[in-house]
Symmetry: C2
Subunit: 137 residues, 2 copies
Amino acid sequence: MSDLLERLRGRGWRLTAQRRVVAEVLDGDHVHYTADEVHALATERLPEISRATVYNTLGELVTLGEVIEVSTDGRAKRYDPNAHHAHQHLVCARCGTIRDVHPSGDLLADLPAQERYGFAISAVEVTYRGLCPDCAA
Amino acid sequence: MSDLLERLRGRGWRLTAQRRVVAEVLDGDHVHYTADEVHALATERLPEISRATVYNTLGELVTLGEVIEVSTDGRAKRYDPNAHHAHQHLVCARCGTIRDVHPSGDLLADLPAQERYGFAISAVEVTYRGLCPDCAA
DNA sequence: TCTTGACTTAGACAACGTCCAATGTAGGAT
DNA sequence: ATCCTACATTGGACGTTGTCTAAGTCAAGA
């Protein structure tokens, strides 16, 4: 994810310890954390980091298109660092874990013009719900 | 929606003025209101109705499968009375209004077996996002 | 009509997120 | 290397959405 930091600096980002830590937390793992989870993990490496900064940084990363904001239920949003590959989500209805998946087909084409109500559609999100192997057992 | 009230009474629901008003508000329209919007509209007809009762009643309707809870962004959940016809949602990224839409094609079939990770998939939700004609103007 | 258990109420509380004024600092300018 | 300043961070107040509880109320069966 040092790529990410480079990219951001190229866009005029000021590189601070806080931002670096948030980027490091998001990096690497397949799980999608909530803002407060990111804050907790960031605090382990940089105890003084504030909640506001984590929210700010996450918001900036989303605005810059480096991270995707996912809200699968009505609860806390989760942040998905896999922003450069189009993908959808598979969610376990019981334990809530999320996996990235890649459906085939043109999702946008499935919506006929007369069903678009004059909207300028810019994104399609698909959530598959079901029980994961562990929860089904 | 008197059907609904009948159905509910058949299931042992106590029929109160508050519940009737909430059901009436949900009835009829294509828009999907937030809980607080439902409360505001209900208050016009029954000024003393409390927020807690609106939340309770909406939750009960969801549990009974008469209404679908939709949380398209991290904001307030919206309540969709069109629970008996399969459909997806078209959401304005700016003002948050929701329209029901009916995409063609088999949504489930779009997910290859090797992308299912052993999940028993039971539902597919699709959200189309874009700007509505009003917000695009 | 009476009774009772389910329903409603107001308001406190909780989770998640935003905003602000005061303070600190990255990185270009000197 | 040091200074400057615009930008970043902080902590805490605040806002929104939703939940919970104790006390009062009422629908509907006996």
